[in-house]
Structures are given as C-alpha cells and as structure tokens.
C-alpha cells in the first residue's frame, strides 16, 4: 500500500522507534486516512466515533437509570425530565473539551495534570478518581444484580458476568476491538426507550413537561437537593473526563478529527438524554402505584414493580437494560481507572499494548473490577447506601476535575489556536459553579441535618 504524502508529521521519525502500540494505532489511522482521501464520509464517521458515545452512554449507568426511574416513580413527569436534557447539554460542553485536549496533545488527562501542574495535583486527581470509581463500580455491580434478580439469578452471577466481560474485552490487546465491543453493548441502552414506549405514557404530558419544566417537585429542600445532585452526578462525572481524553488519545484522534469528535460527543449526549428520559418515563408508570416507596436497588427493584403495573414485557426490557447499563459502565469505568493509575505513575497506558507491555494499566483495570465484584459478594456490606451515594460523591468531587480541564483547554502552549474561546470559557465556568453549588448545598444541608444543627 502506498503511504500518504500528507498523513502526518512522523516521516522524520526513526523506524526503529515504532512500538507495537504505534503499529496498532497506525493501522487504525491508515483506515481513517484512506476513508478521508476516498471521500467515504459515513465510513469515516464510523471509524472516528467511539469515545464520546461510550463516555455518555457509559454514564447512563445502572445507578443513574435507577435514579431517573426513582425520580419518575416519585414525582412523575415534570421538572426532572427536561432537566436530564439540560445536564447532558452540560456534559457535552465538558466532554468536548476532553476530546479536543486529547486529540491535540495525544495525552491523557491524568498525565497532563501531573506534568503541567505537578505531582501533588496529579496525584490528588488520580486518588479522587480511584475512590469515586471504586464506589461507582460497586454500584454498577449492584445494578447488574438488580437486573439479574428479575430472572432469579444471584449476586455471584452478576459479579462473574462483570469480571468476565472486563477480561474478555481486554484480551485482544487492541483499542479498536475493546471500543467496538463496548459500543455494541452500549447501543442496548436504548432498551430504556423501548420500555418507556411500551409503558404507554401520555405523550402530551411528556411534551408539556419538556417545554414548561413543570410541575416542579414538592417535598423537602434536602430531598430536592439530593435529586439535583444525583441527577447532575448521573450525567457529568470525573471518570468521564479521564476516560474521554485518554480514549481519544489512545484511539489516535488528531486535530483533523475534531469535527468528528464533536459529532461523536453530541450523538452520545443526545442518545444518553433520550434513553435517560426513557428510564424516567418508564418509572413514572409507577407514580400512582406506590412508586415513591420502591427500593430501586433492592431485590428485583423497578423491574419487579413494573411487572405488576405495566406488564412482563416492560419489566423484562427494563431488567435487561439495567444489566446492560451496569455492564457497559463496568467496562468504561474500569478502563478509566487503568488510564488514571498508569498516567499517575507515568507508565504506558494504552489498550493498544499487550498486558506484558502495560502491566500496571491492565492490572489496575482488572483489579478495580475484581475488587468491586468481590465487595458485592460480602454478606452484610452496605451496598444500598454505597449505590445511593455514589452519584452524589461524584458530583462533590467534580469541580476540581473540571477546573483542571478548563485550565488544560486554555493552555496556549498545549492547545495553540485550538484552545477555548471566550464563549466556551463562560459556559464552562457557569457549569462548574452550578455543579459546585448543587453538590456543596447537598453535602452541607445533609450534614447539618444529620448532626441536628438545623
């Protein structure tokens, strides 16, 4: 095959420097080059999508979908339906920055924070992420367990399923293979939309809620803050930032691919918003059937409750959706853990390496999944509390991650002319302030109530 004359700037590099990781990435890039040169637009899009859709649909994870369904079952259609769309619009703004920094610098978020701002900040970022990822992964396994409980399968099957999936996807030693398997699974997040349609909601009410943001939920101030914080935590989280930037670099995106990277992120955000709304609408079928009292993370949770109200079809689809949502998130969150750990230590972090060449990356990815799977098998472990608080904790830790993201996206030396514009900065800063206020308000209010100070 004739090499391109304009494919990139690596022609001056010494051939002896081509590692297996370089070779794998160049094969992927050669397909992108030929698709672009041949004007095959749809094939080019197919080759370049991935990190954005996976970050967004990965965040439509088990706990998030249960959280949306709980909101629907408690309050019905109303403020939180369009609020899901708003939060995914916020996520698109944040994730576009990650994709852009990854494509321009070819380096992961953890690596850049560590090298640009020093060891202290790099390690803080990595420790935050490892902690929230472990908590979130436990919640994912709980969600898989809830879905499988509908089919009378136990926690052992849930733990085994997640771990086997992680090992299977990692076994190829290729980013492309890992990404395509995860994408193939992620598309089944659409099961929540199918469940919503089958639950036969009043589409007029859905449309009215979307336009008017009403009715506004009643109840206590603390409950409202918890719902706001967990809805934000269900759409914008630290792992997504680490994952999309590292995956964009690992995939080999370049500044020429920014348009497709943006399309990938927007498609992911749009699909996730639609499917998230689907979970809320399906949950709303339980509003007048004691929906507020359903424990979504215990037993067969929502699928079990939906069977009596909306029929076995809706319940089965919702249960399968929970298994899918948890499984995809187990893949993406464990990968983001691997990227963060390897980048913090300063060793190779790529799915294009074999486990022998990136031992720490593969070990961290596998170990965090194994640890979370092990915890759900511990009798008496406080799984429900962990799962309920996972999204809130992610929201509380998010502002630091986003501030560094904005700093990297504005770094003139790294980003050159592709750094943030003033309008992008205004929007991003507004998002950081909003997220910080919601997370802090919930944390402080809950603490004061727990300690009986208010």
């Amino acid at each position: 095959m004739k090499p391109p004359a304009d494919a990139g700037g690596a022609t001056l590099a010494l051939p002896g420097l081509l590692t297996p990781e370089d070779a794998a990435r160049s094969l992927d890039r050669s397909r992108v080059h030929h698709a672009r040169a041949g004007g095959r637009r749809w094939y080019l899009l197919w080759l370049l999508v991935g990190p954005g859709i996976l970050a967004m649909l990965g965040e439509n994870d088990g706990p998030s979908m249960i959280s949306y369904a709980t909101t629907g079952a408690t309050y019905g259609l109303g403020f939180f339906l369009p609020f899901i769309v708003v939060t995914f619009a916020m996520a698109i703004v944040c994730q576009e920055m990650c994709m852009r920094v990854g494509a321009v610098t070819h380096r992961g978020y953890g690596q850049l924070v560590l090298q640009r701002y020093g060891m202290v900040w790099g390690w803080f970022a990595a420790i935050d992420l490892l902690f929230t990822n472990l908590v979130t992964l436990i919640a994912e396994f709980v969600a898989i367990r809830v879905g499988l409980a509908f089919f009378h399968l136990g926690a052992g099957v849930a733990a085994a399923l997640g771990v086997v999936l992680v090992l299977f996807t990692l076994s190829g030693g290729r980013y492309w293979r890992w990404e395509r398997i995860a994408l193939g699974l992620a598309i089944f997040n659409g099961l929540f939309l199918a469940a919503a349609i089958m639950a036969k909601p009043g589409w007029g009410s859905v449309g009215q809620s979307m336009v008017t943001f009403s009715p506004f939920p009643g109840g206590s101030f603390n409950t409202l803050l918890l719902l706001l914080a967990s809805t934000i935590g269900a759409t914008v989280t630290p792992w997504m930032v680490f994952f999309q930037q590292s995956a964009s670099a690992d995939k080999g995106l370049t500044p020429r691919d920014l348009l497709h990277g943006r399309i990938d992120t927007i498609i992911g955000g749009a699909l996730a918003a639609v499917f998230g709304c689907g979970a809320l609408i399906a949950g709303a079928a339980l509003l007048s059937h004691g929906g507020a009292n359903i424990q979504g993370l215990a037993g067969a949770g929502f699928p079990g409750a939906l069977r009596a109200v909306a029929g076995p079809g809706v319940a089965t689809i919702f249960a399968l959706g929970l298994v899918e949502a948890g499984a995809v998130a187990v893949l993406t969150i464990s990968a983001s853990t691997g990227y963060a750990a390897a980048e913090a230590i300063g060793v190779r972090s790529s799915l294009n390496n074999s486990p022998r060449h990136a031992a720490l990356f593969y070990s961290a990815t596998t170990a965090v999944a194994l640890l979370a799977a092990g915890i759900i098998l511990v009798p008496g472990a406080p799984l429900l509390s962990i799962a309920l608080n996972a999204n809130v904790l992610a929201t509380v830790l998010l502002p630091v991650t986003l501030v560094f993201m904005i700093m990297l996206a504005n770094d003139r030396r790294l980003m050159g002319r592709l750094r943030n514009t003033r309008a992008m900065n205004r929007t991003a800063i507004a998002i950081v302030v909003f997220v910080s206020v919601c997370g802090a308000a919930y944390g402080i209010d809950s603490f004061l109530r727990t300690t009986h100070l208010i």
């Binding site: 095959m1 391109p4 370089d22």
Partner: protein, 58 residues
C-alpha cells in the same frame, strides 16, 4: 505494511517515544495556586460531610 509505511500515518507527537517525553511544567501564579488549594480544601470538607452522612445512615 512495513514500519516505514505505517509510521507515516501517525503524527510525530503521536509516537510512544514522543508521548513519553514530559511536557514542561506550567507556571502557576500565586493567586491561581491559592485558588486551587481553596477549591481542594472546599472539596475535601464537603466530601467529608457526605461521607459522614453516609456513615450515619449505615
């Protein structure tokens, strides 16, 4: 494809050898450093509150 052909599809700074070269440290102003520490302390305090609330729910 040979290594020579393959390498042309990558940008120079996409090569592993180049990516392993650290980027220089960014100068942070005193106010930026103070702001980051303030944010860090704020996040740790709020996280501790959330964890305390979680622990009391057990």
């Amino acid at each position: 494809m040979t290594d020579e052909e393959l390498i042309t599809y990558l940008e120079r700074d996409q090569l592993v050898a180049d990516k392993e070269r650290p980027v220089p440290r960014a100068p942070l102003s005193r106010s930026a450093t103070l702001g980051l520490w303030a944010l860090r302390v704020f996040v740790i305090v709020v996280s501790a509150m959330v964890i305390y609330t979680f622990a009391t729910q057990l």
